[in-house]
């Protein structure tokens, strides 16, 4: 698809918007990590370094398109338009969060911005997104569904089953693999026989691998796939080559696991999506955006920390859609 193509000229609103999204995700996660270190948040899977994937793909989507996210999902939600204050409140477990604290960092869902959920059973969101995409097409419009998953997920059976269903039934779904080279500590070349693109092609699904650090490249590749899906052309697989600078999870701040060398991290940091996109903007414009984001996040953190926590006396409030209350764990009090 767009592999090797030069990104478009550095002009237009697209660039400022992509920068804003990437900057927002980066700073949101940095603030969240501070809150992990202060003990306010139990832990997160940071996506720092991978922001161009979320920003680029979501820039190719309309607000009424649907995203299924995974365990490393803050960026997907923010890029799809989720309110940062309500997302911060969610991962802090507050009632003002998008899911009233029921989802947390692993499972934030936000109907308003079209993120239908983040499932942590690796790869299975792709199968759910396939059902979403099919149902959207049945409604008769041209909405599309998108699933984000990692390089580890492409070894899950349910994901491959969904490739088959999506291809058979020409489902308007974009299956985005964020290949950050590791599944926890397992290097992709150790865990994955063949290639992501090869898996897709086996099912007759158009697929490509592109630079996942450049948001413009990502956006253009995603747009091509999304346009095809809208026109009835069925699913696509997009593999984005990217990297996470942080550990798999914030628990690595304590464990200091050794599975990648410092030089490798440094090499990828030279291709930092934030820097790549910043260079497409004037200094003044950048500074305005940066200041706006700092103010937004200041308010997001403040209001989230001041929000009430859910009532532990009613932990299963939303377990059933119809409000059914089942027996508690203790039958005498």
């Amino acid at each position: 698809m767009t592999t090797g193509e030069a990104p478009g000229p550095p002009t237009g609103d697209g660039h400022a918007q992509l920068y804003r999204t990437i900057r927002l995700i980066r700073r949101f996660e940095e603030r969240a990590i501070e809150l992990v270190q202060s003990g306010d948040i139990p832990g997160i899977h940071p996506c720092i370094g991978q922001e161009a994937a979320a920003a680029g793909v979501c820039a190719a989507l309309r607000p009424d398109d649907v995203v299924l996210s995974n365990h490393r999902g803050h960026g997907h939600l923010l890029a799809k338009g989720c309110d940062p204050g309500r997302l911060m409140a969610e991962i802090l477990g507050r009632v003002t969060g998008v899911g009233r604290g029921g989802g947390g960092s692993l499972h934030p869902a936000d109907l308003d911005s079209g993120v239908y959920g983040a499932t942590a059973t690796v790869g299975h969101g792709a199968a759910i997104a396939t059902g979403v995409g099919w149902a959207l097409a049945q409604e008769g419009g041209d909405r599309v569904a998108v699933a984000f998953f990692g390089d580890g997920a492409v070894n899950q059976g349910a994901l491959l089953e969904s490739f088959n269903l999506a291809a058979l039934w020409r489902v308007p779904v974009l299956l985005v693999c964020e290949n950050n080279l590791y599944a926890t500590t397992l290097a992709a070349h150790v865990g994955n026989a063949g290639s992501v693109v090869g898996r897709a092609e086996a099912f007759g699904i158009p697929a490509s691998t592109v630079d996942g650090q450049d948001p413009v490249v990502v956006r253009d590749a995603a747009r091509q796939a999304v346009d095809r899906a809208r026109a009835g052309g069925g699913p696509s697989v997009l593999e984005l080559l990217t990297y996470r600078y942080q550990g798999h999870h914030t628990f690595e701040l304590k464990t200091h696991l050794l599975y990648r060398d410092k030089a490798e991290v440094a090499r990828w940091q030279e291709r930092d999506p934030l820097r790549i996109q910043a260079e497409r903007l004037g200094a003044q414009e950048r500074e305005l955006i940066d200041a706006e984001i700092e103010a937004t996040l200041e308010e997001a953190v403040r209001s989230a920390l001041e929000s009430p926590e859910p009532d532990p006396a009613d932990p299963l409030r939303y377990l059933y859609a119809d409000g059914l209350r089942t027996r508690g764990g203790v039958s005498y009090a």
Partner: protein
């Protein structure tokens, strides 16, 4: 009045709900030819966008149903054999049934999982012979287990209309049951409401699924000796604890007949709850399959593991003696 066959009742429920609500659709393996007789005529009536023949991809299509449900559709997923539920435990328990809670009520997942064959039939081998309904109860997924054609119609209808995932076990041993019923009497039956099939004064027998018919037969056989009340919870989660309490408060004695394995099963749960919360005048008893794996290849061995009428009669007599 016409005789209604159990399988026909399920077929009618699907047909009526698909007619009433365009969001309802059916998916599963070999449903175009209605291999299990549940989907008979539906493809012809509703077309391939409402009756989706799937490849052998249970994990994929179970998640697919969740996705469709997230957008407001109401999928009914038919599985041919109960062991397939082991394959999709993740998709039902950990995906579908978690969305409402995880999203703080933003999303509902109104999927119905329909098991038209339940593997009881002797001789189908070790991988087709168990009754995994307590697993879902344990995990908080709604479970229904209709014993009669009218209940099959009414409970399947309610399951489809329910906004949560619901697993409907239609035991194969009940598939042959027929009932004389006016079609006008076929109405939705709310989940969580049990049914007293036969009133009695001395002992409450809780029986589930096809075992309701065995319990009724035993109650009849022992009628000169003891007055047996047969209580069918019909839905295992939510469970009609109030209905059971009303029965046990009157009889003071309890026997549970359950076709699932013993440990962590429904029978154990019912007895524990009755012991904690109800007034029993004699120790309760349960009749179940043994713990552990099921060996179903030799019919005699298979039947040896299934609860039977003699065991029930013996348990009732024992409870009446208060030992």
């Amino acid at each position: 009045m016409p005789k209604l066959h159990y399988l026909k009742a399920m077929n009618l429920a699907l047909r009526d709900e698909m007619t009433r609500d365009p969001a309802v659709f059916l998916m599963g393996e070999d449903i175009n030819l209605a291999l299990t007789n549940v989907a008979t005529g539906l493809l012809h009536k509703f077309g391939p966008n409402r009756v989706l023949e799937t490849p052998l991809s249970e994990q994929g299509f179970t998640n697919f149903a969740t996705g469709a449900a997230l957008t407001g559709r109401r999928p009914v997923v038919e599985y041919q054999i109960p062991f397939l539920l082991m394959l999709v435990l993740e998709q039902i328990v950990n995906q579908a049934s978690r969305f409402s809670l995880m999203s703080g009520g933003q999303f509902r997942v109104p999927v119905t999982y329909l098991l038209p064959a339940s593997g009881w039939k002797p001789g189908w081998g070790a991988q087709h012979s168990d009754q995994p309904y307590p697993l879902f109860v344990h995990m908080g997924v709604k479970v229904v287990l209709p014993a009669t054609p009218r209940d099959a119609y009414g409970l399947l209808t309610s399951a489809i209309r329910d906004d949560d995932p619901v697993v409907v076990f239609a035991p194969a041993a009940a598939h042959g049951v027929q009932e004389t019923v006016a079609f006008a009497d076929l109405v939705p039956i709310p989940l969580g409401v049990g049914r007293v099939h036969r009133a009695g004064d001395d002992v409450t027998v809780v029986a589930m699924g096809h075992l309701v018919h065995d319990a009724l037969a035993v109650a009849e056989d022992l009628a000169d000796e003891v007055s047996v009340e047969v209580f069918d919870p019909r839905t295992l989660h939510p469970f009609d604890w109030a209905g059971l309490a009303a029965s046990v408060e009157r009889t003071g004695r309890l026997v549970v007949l359950d076709d699932a394995n013993r440990a962590c099963g429904m029978a154990g749960e019912i007895i524990a709850t009755a012991s904690e919360e109800m007034r029993l005048v004699a120790p309760p008893r349960r009749i179940t399959r043994p713990d552990g794996a099921v060996l179903g290849s030799v019919p005699a061995l298979d039947l040896a593991m299934q609860p039977n009428r003699e065991q029930l009669a013996a348990a009732i007599r024992r409870v009446m003696k208060g030992v």
